[in-house]
Each structure stands twice: as structure tokens, then as C-alpha cells.
């Protein structure tokens, strides 16, 4: 039941990405190209998503626990460090070069386009590099054998 619920949630997210235009790198790059072929549309994506999430989260958190887990797992850190700022700065540079971000690219896999496969493959390489730099293992051992 939990997995069917997760599957349906992913479908809702993917439909939102596809309908909103986030899946289209030409549109994403134009959002950032204020001096050129500017297209403000993606501000409406972020606006719509944040309005629903801002209100929805507060309603959900009135519950003692989620439907299928025993607790909410929300990041609690308030630390502003060079990793956060430098990592975010790098993320924006990569986003501005490729025009895809991970949340748009996963649903875009369903179009079968090779550019999406190339992008997500490169993201996995980047994530693996980061794990090596942080000293994390690439292949996790099973928690319980």
C-alpha cells in the first residue's frame, strides 16, 4: 500500500513537472535569460508549488505521524556554511549550463529522449564524485545481513 501511494505521488509530481514547462530546458534557460529571450513562466511554477506546500505542510503536521511511517523526517539543521553556499552556487552553475535539474529530468525520462539519459547519468557521476570527496562508500553494505 505504501509503495502504491509513493507511486501515485510520483505520478502527480511528474504531471506537474510536465504541465508546468519545467521539463523543457529551452524554457528553463529562458527563465534565467533576463537580458535575452526572457520567459517568466517558471516563477509561476515555483509560486504555485510553494503556496500549496506552505499550507499543506502545516495541515499535515497537525497529525502525530505520517500515514505509513512512525515519524516525520524533516531536516533540522540551521547551519549556514561554505558547503551549503558553495554547493548551491555550483548547483546553479550546472543548472544554467544544462537547463535540466534532477526533479525535471526524472519525469522527462518517460519521453525516452537520450539527452535526459545523458543528463541523469552525469548527475549520478557528480553524486558519486561528491561521495568520494566526502569519504562516503560508493556501495553501501546492507544494514542487516
Amino acid at each position: 500500500m505504501k509503495l502504491i501511494y509513493a507511486w501515485a505521488t510520483g505520478l502527480v509530481f511528474g504531471l506537474g513537472i510536465a504541465i508546468s514547462g519545467m521539463m523543457n530546458p529551452a524554457k528553463v534557460l529562458n527563465f534565467f535569460d533576463i537580458a535575452g529571450t526572457w520567459d517568466l513562466s517558471l516563477a509561476f511554477v515555483m509560486g504555485g508549488a510553494v503556496i500549496v506546500t506552505f499550507i499543506g505542510y502545516r495541515l499535515v503536521w497537525r497529525r502525530a505521524q505520517p500515514l505509513f511511517e512512525d515519524r516525520f523526517q524533516v531536516p533540522a539543521s540551521k547551519v549556514i556554511d561554505s558547503r551549503l553556499v558553495g554547493g548551491s552556487a555550483l548547483f546553479g552553475i550546472g543548472w544554467g549550463i544544462a537547463g535540466f535539474c534532477p526533479g525535471a529530468a526524472i519525469p522527462a525520462l518517460g519521453t525516452g529522449r537520450w539527452e535526459v539519459v545523458l543528463f541523469l547519468g552525469a548527475v549520478v557521476v557528480g553524486l558519486a564524485l561528491a561521495r568520494i570527496l566526502k569519504g562516503q562508500p560508493l556501495i553501501s553494505r546492507p544494514v542487516s545481513a
Binding site: F44, A49, V50, V52, T53, Q73, G86, L90, G121
Partner: protein, 143 residues
């Protein structure tokens, strides 16, 4: 390449993205961070941590096909950059999202909605560097 201004479709799609973020919090108590979903699917810590992310990904991937079945057209996907730039950009996105602990969905949608201090720093940072990058590529180095 020009793209049409689509405020209604973009706002409507944004509402659905927000709904999905709320549904994931309601059901599994988790932040909807796409990079974490990729990372957790590839470098899974345990089978149970892998399973729900895999289910989520399977749902996400179905969306373009469903749109094709209903409307008869695939969602627009025009790539105005070279394969080399897609690959370089992708590696940088993976590195940056890992060190920055989030991307457009995790920091942008979920973090801003939680009024997370870290996300309030991360989002303007990556929006600014993305805009500067696009400016440099398109208006300074040609393109």
C-alpha cells in the same frame, strides 16, 4: 530560442508539484527532494529505503506518456545546448546538489515552504549563479 509565456499552465503544474510534496509528507513524512531520490535509488542504504524511492520514480516516469495518451502530444522538450554541455552541467549539478544538500525541489519547493534558514540561503544562491551562468554563456561568450 523563444518560448511562449504560459502563466496558467505553469501555475497549474506548480500546484500539482506542491500537492505531490504535501502527499509525500502526509504518507511517508519525507521532504520531496529529487536529488535525494536519485541518490537514494542509486546509493541505497537499505532495501526499504530503496523501495519507496523506486516506486516514486516509476510514477514520475509515467507522466509524459499519460499526457501523450490524454492530449495526443508529448510535453515540450527542446534542448538548446550541446551534449557536452549537458554532460558537464549534469556532473556539476550532482556535485553541487550533494554538497549543498538539495536542489530546486528540496530547497526550492519544500525548504522555502518550511521557511528553512538553509533553503532561504540556498535558493537565491543557485538562482543567482544560474542567471549569471546563462548570461555569460549567451551574451558574453557568444551562443
Amino acid at each position: 530560442m523563444e518560448t511562449a509565456f504560459t502563466p496558467s499552465a505553469s501555475f497549474g503544474g506548480g500546484l500539482l508539484i506542491g500537492l505531490a510534496a504535501v502527499l509525500l509528507m502526509l504518507g511517508l513524512g519525507r521532504i520531496f527532494g529529487a536529488t535525494g531520490i536519485v541518490s537514494g535509488s542509486v546509493f541505497a542504504e537499505s532495501r526499504s529505503e530503496f523501495a519507496w524511492r523506486a516506486a516514486l520514480v516509476l510514477g514520475m516516469v509515467l507522466a509524459p506518456g499519460l499526457i501523450f495518451i490524454v492530449t495526443g502530444a508529448w510535453p515540450a522538450l527542446d534542448v538548446p545546448v550541446s551534449p557536452t554541455m549537458i554532460a558537464i552541467g549534469g556532473v556539476i549539478v550532482g556535485l553541487g546538489a550533494s554538497f549543498g544538500s538539495g536542489c530546486t525541489s528540496g530547497h526550492g519547493v519544500c525548504g522555502l515552504s518550511r521557511l528553512s534558514l538553509r533553503s532561504l540561503v540556498a535558493v537565491p544562491t543557485f538562482m543567482a549563479t544560474a542567471a549569471v551562468t546563462v548570461y555569460l554563456i549567451r551574451h558574453v561568450f557568444g551562443g
